[in-house]
């Protein structure tokens, strides 16, 4: 799964730590989601999308295996 979190963070000038504080998770969780090493829950994906003023569909790109 690919994400646009890094791109959108840069657009809003947010560090991983800023975003983590906004949604109440640890910085490493944001890092691993960006790297595609951790699949967030629907609630966390929703919270990230809200924090980055976008939608889940726009934020996460699912790849066919």
């Amino acid at each position: 799964m690919k994400t646009r979190i890094k791109e959108l963070r840069a657009r809003y000038d947010l560090t991983q730590e800023d975003l983590a504080k906004k949604i109440g998770v640890r910085r490493e969780t944001i890092l691993f989601i960006e790297k595609g090493k951790y699949n967030p829950s629907l609630k966390l994906a929703h919270d990230i999308a809200i924090a980055l003023q976008t939608t889940i569909d726009d934020l996460f790109m699912f790849e066919e295996d």
């Binding site: 983590a20 910085r27 969780t29 090493k37 951790y38 966390l44």
Partner: protein, 134 residues
């Protein structure tokens, strides 16, 4: 507040383990090889547990949560691996030690091996998943 209580309890337990271990070492006299390996595992588990506590303190100081959904999931997975390790070590530990060293483990040492091995597997798998993000 709940996180801070958990951290304080964790620090208390780690300190109690280290104090107990130092009293044991002071009064043990001659320490055998099997005891040295058990003490080594205790020290490794305590060191890794202190690292986990320090990491939580670091996050709280930055205004971030001590744990989130990823760490809760990691906790559950590590707990499962620790449980499996406890069953495996209770079943096969005494047999393996008897085959390798021709030494029948007394009951209290079997308990110690099970507790330490499962504790070690829990902490090691927790930290592995923590660093790898799995």
């Amino acid at each position: 507040m709940k996180d801070k209580k958990g951290i304080l309890i964790g620090i208390g337990i780690a300190a109690a383990v280290l104090v107990t271990l130092s009293f044991y070492l002071l009064n043990a006299g001659n320490i055998e090889l099997n005891e040295i390996s058990l003490i080594g595992i205790v020290l490794i588990v305590v060191a890794l547990a202190i690292y986990m506590l320090w990491d939580k303190i670091k996050n709280i100081r930055k205004g971030l949560p001590a744990k989130d959904e990823r760490l809760i999931l990691t906790n559950y997975k590590a707990g499962l691996y620790g449980f499996i390790a406890a069953i495996m070590s209770a079943t096969f530990g005494p047999i393996i030690i008897e085959i390798l060293f021709d030494y029948e483990l007394p009951g209290h040492l079997v308990t110690a091996v099970v507790v330490l091995f499962s504790g070690f597997v829990f902490v090691a798998s927790y930290l592995y998943m923590y660093w790898k993000g799995k």
